[in-house]
């Protein structure tokens, strides 16, 4: 929901409003009402807003871009970690806390505290003042976040690697969406959680284990918790009045989107998803910290050199990530920054800071490093964003895949186009339909819309690295027809992906299944005309006596007398 400053400006003191008005051409002699009028007038003028955005420091523009990415609202600590993860921020003095840069954005009137009695006051403590927002008219002129490239060198020798084909990734995403669609949405409890029974249904449809699953030999804990939650926090589901989350667009329509966009939507949902952690049971983190960590990680991945073939060692990337955010982020307890007394000598201060940094690093290696490794082997791998270098069963490095580079660099049209070009249907036979109703899909030849078609009309039995085996069942065909597919379109779609003629027995059986569906017709909300006698019914000339029946007359005329 877009937010605007106008209402909140009234609750800000004149002394705070004056510096804010300066951005819009105001002066320090202005009264409160004049300051508010000046800011409102400036925000209402798109050209003026554009000039103001252009006049900002790069890190200030970047902070706004980050808020835009998070949907216009952000927690103070998340903004802070995002700013440092981008690598573009003001120099930090030893005696100043990093929050100072966020406070300066408030003083300038670029952000305000959300849902607070004092919108001009932000606080890092929990509760009022810790949630920030920016006026939608400012965000409209802000582009994508920028990043200072990481100073990191590629690995020289690459061991064995593992990666997921884009079509395998899309198969899973579309599969989850289709499962939710088939269930007519996810029901929520009164507390707002997805009902366990509905989670189980998705889990069964996806053939996932309850506790965890293996993806190419890599352990993924609680996949149902991860992806149901990611879908929930993405922009793909909508909450209905009956407390049910339903898909906003069909899986077939979703599959038409560019690959990188499909992945990005789910990625953004996972970043915001607080109810799942990458680590197996037994690890307990603050949910907000996990989300901040994911945001910082994706931003740091965006700062990697855009070299398609370059693998980076886990060691080097971990150090680079620590160097970016280590002083400001921890999944656990962040060791307190020393208070540097002026009575100390410069050397003593440096020693204190060095000791503190050593404690930070030790804590990082204990808590954040395992989490980073898990992030790479779970959602980043599952979404096909990274190719992992594996040595003796351990992940030693990674590179961004084509989809990874396109996802982390949405500003680059070339990268997105390159991904699409590589993911187009090759024109070869995408699948084979066998007489036993099995459909073997070749994932490297099957486009996303074709996969969505199979997910909609057939039951997925097994997925391997390069193929997926589906089965046409009476139930799956019924589901497909119920979702709106005509029999001719089903047969046509199956034939389109298969260069050989469909087996005759399959065609006959599908026709039979479709005709069975016509034998029982269920109407959820029919209109029925009840006549007092059969004679009146036959005459039919009393229809016009009913005002509401006039529109029914045509329908009724078309039906045989016993049709009701």
């Amino acid at each position: 929901m877009p937010r605007y400053f106008d209402g909140d400006l009234l609750r800000i003191n004149a002394s705070e409003l004056k510096p804010m008005a300066r951005l819009w051409g105001g002066t320090s002699t202005m009264r409160k009402d004049d300051c508010i009028a000046c800011i409102r007038h400036g925000l209402a003028n798109p050209n003026r807003v554009q000039r103001v955005i252009a006049s900002l420091e790069p890190w200030e523009r970047n902070a706004l871009a980050l808020i835009k990415r998070m949907g216009g609202v952000i927690e103070l600590h998340t903004l802070l970690v995002g700013i440092v993860a981008s690598g573009i921020h003001p120099h930090r003095r030893n005696d100043v806390y990093r929050e100072e840069c966020v406070h300066s954005l408030v003083r300038k009137g670029l952000i305000l505290a959300a849902d607070s009695y004092s919108p001009g006051y932000v606080s890092n403590s929990y509760g009022s003042g810790s949630t920030l927002y920016t006026d939608e008219r400012l965000l409209a002129h802000v582009g994508f976040p920028e990043f200072r490239p990481l100073d990191i060198h590629p690995m020289t020798t690459i061991p064995d690697t593992r990666y997921r084909l884009p079509s395998t990734v899309v198969l899973d995403i579309v599969g989850i969406l289709q499962a939710i669609e088939n269930m007519d949405g996810l029901r929520l409890t009164q507390a707002g959680q997805v009902r366990t029974a509905d989670e189980k249904k998705v889990q069964r449809a996806m053939h996932w284990g309850e506790k965890g699953m293996e993806v190419d030999g890599l352990y993924f804990p609680n996949p149902i918790g991860a992806w149901v939650s990611a879908f929930r926090y993405s922009d793909l589901l909508a909450l209905q009045d009956d407390n049910r989350l339903v898909v906003k667009e069909s899986s077939a329509s979703f599959a038409q989107r560019p690959y990188s966009e499909q992945v990005r939507l789910l990625l953004e949902g996972l970043i915001r998803s607080p109810s799942w952690t990458e680590m197996p049971e037994g690890y307990f983190y603050d949910r907000g910290d996990v989300c901040r960590g994911r945001l910082a990680l994706t931003m740091t991945l965006s700062a990697l050199p855009v070299d398609p073939g370059a693998f980076f060692s886990m060691q080097a990337f971990d150090q680079a990530l620590f160097d970016r955010i280590g002083e400001d982020f921890s999944l656990d307890y962040l060791p307190q920054r020393p208070f540097l007394l002026h009575s100390r000598t410069d050397k003593e201060r440096e020693q204190e800071l060095a000791a503190w940094r050593a404690r930070l690093r030790a804590s990082w290696l204990k808590e954040e490093r395992p989490w980073l490794e898990s992030a790479l082997t779970t959602w980043l791998y599952f979404l096909g964003l990274v190719e992992l270098a594996v040595e003796n069963g351990a992940v030693t490095g990674f590179r961004l895949t084509d989809i990874g580079r396109a996802t982390f660099h949405p500003e680059s049209q070339e990268l997105a186009q390159a991904v699409e070009a590589g993911c187009q249907s090759s024109g070869e036979s995408a699948w084979v339909v066998q007489p036993n109703f099995d459909v073997i899909a070749y994932l490297d030849r099957t486009s996303a819309p074709q996969l969505a078609f199979l997910e909609r009309h057939a039951e997925r039995v097994q997925t391997d690295r390069h193929t997926a085996r589906y089965r046409l069942t009476r139930e799956s065909v019924y589901q497909g027809l119920e979702s709106g597919t005509a029999l001719a379109d089903l047969l046509g779609g199956l034939q389109e992906g298969c260069h050989h003629a469909l087996p005759q027995n399959v065609i006959i059986e599908l026709r039979e299944w479709a005709s069975l569906r016509e034998r029982i017709l269920v109407r959820r909300g029919a209109r029925l005309l009840e006549f007092q006698t059969a004679e009146v019914d036959r005459r039919g000339d009393r229809f016009s006596a009913l005002p509401a029946a006039a529109e029914l007359t045509d329908d009724a005329d078309r039906r045989s007398p016993g049709a009701w």
């Binding site: 009476r474 016509e518 029982i520 269920v522 959820r524 005309l529 009146v536 016993g562």
Partner: protein, 69 residues
């Protein structure tokens, strides 16, 4: 007095062959959801029982075509 009555938003079931409806009435697990048989092939479904009837039909191996109106 003899004016026809228009019923709106009425859940109904219509079958191609009257034997299908006979069988549904013969099975107490489906008959409980049927309110009134209007003809050999048409019956009114009890209010609020449409989803339960659908679930029962599917469980019994039927594949009913569901229409909103």
């Amino acid at each position: 007095m003899n004016q026809p009555i228009l019923h709106e938003n009425l859940p109904m079931i219509e079958v191609a062959d009257d034997i299908i409806l006979d069988n549904l009435y013969a099975d107490p697990r489906t008959a409980q959801f049927l309110l009134k048989r209007l003809s050999k092939t048409v019956a009114v479904v009890a209010p609020g029982q449409m989803d339960a009837l659908l679930a029962r039909l599917l469980k019994a191996g039927h594949t009913p075509k569901v229409l909103e109106a």
